[in-house]
């Protein structure tokens, strides 16, 4: 099972691929919309990529509650495997 650091690194890769976010910027306190300029359609793409990478599906109602990189890491940690 991946560690928190692995999840953060994996999420950073996804953010770079989907939204052009520099990996160093993908830190837990960052807000997707306010800090990283990730729009709602890109969040949908990120959710799909998270499912592919970690095997964790994010339902739409949960996706709406994921505001920061840290929120995403916690959700993946809680729901994996």
């Amino acid at each position: 099972m991946p560690s928190t650091a692995d999840i953060q690194a994996g999420l950073a890769e996804i953010l770079e691929e989907v939204a052009g976010v520099a990996p160093a910027d993908a830190t837990p306190e960052k807000s997707f919309t306010d800090d990283l300029d990730v729009d709602s359609l890109s969040m949908v793409e990120i959710a799909t990529a998270v499912e592919d990478k970690f095997g964790v599906a994010i339902p739409d109602d949960e996706l709406a509650n994921i505001k920061t990189v840290g929120d995403a890491i916690s959700f993946i940690e809680k729901n994996q495997g």
């Binding site: 052009g20 359609l41 793409e45 799909t48």
Partner: protein, 413 residues
């Protein structure tokens, strides 16, 4: 504040085409007689009657950042590349223009068809949850205009004329109208197309509109020639920045040419076949010349639509002869670029402006044996080598399936 005038000028040019990744390289290749046409080597094309295309010389992924490549359909990527070049050329960002007074008019013939088809494949193979959330913005026909609007920060309005292969020229006409009506102070206009894919190729082939001279790619697009047998599908985009002459002069902008007039008509004849005598085309040409305050005798150069189809070229030749006369130097640059559909009118307007500015008419490639048709025989079509000439007005015409006819008149700055 100065009073707006109807005098509209071109202060920026941009293009990415099968001949080059920008205006300068495209123009240089055109004058050098180079061809942008090649044969498709992919397996899918082997059974196709028409296997020739004119692909971009520069891949958009080599120019735009990865995120824009991911979120924009190829037709939108090239629109943005051309528009950003034109905007830089016009020094739009430093012009001090209020974004609330900047508009965009950008046309496409087919739009995001490749996205539609690719996403349909994903839908079939992986299901609805795997379809990209960017599918709709990537396939909508106003998508290129919207992407250009974001790129230049236009907030006066973003418009997307769709009139098949006349779309690019129609966008320029709308831009002229917006400035004359004082609805904007600067307008980025143009056209785009990128639909090289088996389905559009099969569709155009089924219409018998495409050349099947597969063994001679560079000689296949041959407007006005006896041996012509259809067009070559090309991809790319071209853009112009338009503004009123007084404002351009006041800010010290470089002025490429005046956009002196425009005309548009509909054939009302057939859904796809042109009127055989070019009746509607001729009316558009006459309207554009009148709108420019000129007479037919003033038109020294025509960049013809001439796609290399058997009926289209003769109908247009009749329209040019009847509406203008036998005196203008005519060229058909699709002989080298292929047919860029919705981008054609914009690209050929760029060529018309450069011809006017540099007083040289590019040659029509592959015109070895002009058609016996009386109108083709009557025209002075430049071939073999570009021809230097003295002229102060050039006309570009564009026609589209649906019976759309557009003509634009440019004059020296």
């Amino acid at each position: 504040m100065s009073t707006p005038t109807a005098d509209v000028v071109v202060t920026g040019l941009g293009a990415t085409t099968p001949l080059g990744g920008d205006v300068a390289s495209t123009w240089e290749a055109l004058l050098a007689g180079r061809s942008g046409v090649s044969r498709i080597t992919d397996d899918w094309a082997k059974e196709f009657p028409a296997q020739l295309v004119a692909r971009l010389s520069t891949e958009p992924a080599d120019v735009l950042d990865r995120v824009r490549i991911r979120r924009l359909d190829r037709s939108q990527q090239v629109a943005v590349i051309a528009a950003e070049e034109a905007w830089r050329d016009a020094a739009g960002a430093d012009s001090g223009v209020d974004p609330l007074r900047v508009a965009v008019v950008f046309g496409t013939g087919i739009g995001g068809a490749v996205t539609l088809l690719d996403q349909n494949d994903i839908l079939g193979s992986k299901g609805p949850k795997r379809v990209s959330p960017f599918t709709i913005p990537m396939l909508m026909p106003n998508g290129p205009a919207a992407a250009v609007g974001l790129a230049v920060g236009a907030r006066a309005g973003v418009h997307a004329p769709v009139s098949a292969c006349a779309s690019g020229a129609e966008a320029i006409r709308w831009g002229l109208d917006l400035l004359r009506l004082d609805r904007a102070d600067m307008v980025v206009v143009g056209g785009t197309e990128a639909c090289i894919h088996p389905l559009p190729m099969a569709g155009f082939s089924a219409m018998r509109a495409m050349t099947t001279r597969n063994d001679e790619p560079e000689r296949a697009s041959r407007p006005f020639d006896k041996g012509r047998d259809g067009f070559v599908l090309g991809e790319g985009a071209a853009a112009l920045v338009l503004e009123r002459a007084d404002a351009a002069t006041a800010r010290g902008a470089k002025i490429h040419a005046r956009l002196a007039g425009a005309g548009g008509t509909a054939d009302g004849y057939d859904l796809v076949a042109p009127h055989p005598e070019g009746e509607g085309a001729g009316r558009a040409i006459t309207a554009a010349i009148r709108d420019a305050g000129l007479t037919a005798a003033d038109i020294g150069h025509v960049n013809a639509h001439a796609t290399s189809t058997p009926i289209g070229d003769t109908a247009e030749a009749a329209a040019i002869r009847d509406a203008i006369g036998e005196h203008p130097l005519v060229t058909a640059t699709k002989s080298q670029t292929g047919h860029l559909l919705g981008a054609a009118g914009a690209l050929e307007s760029v060529f018309s402006i450069l011809a006017l500015r540099e007083q040289i008419v590019p040659a029509t490639a592959n015109l070895d044996d002009p058609d016996d048709d009386a109108a083709v025989q009557a025209l002075d079509i430049v071939r073999r080598e570009p021809r230097k000439a003295t002229f102060s007005a050039a006309l570009n015409d564009s026609f589209g399936f649906g019976g759309h006819n557009m003509a634009l008149v440019f004059t020296t700055a």
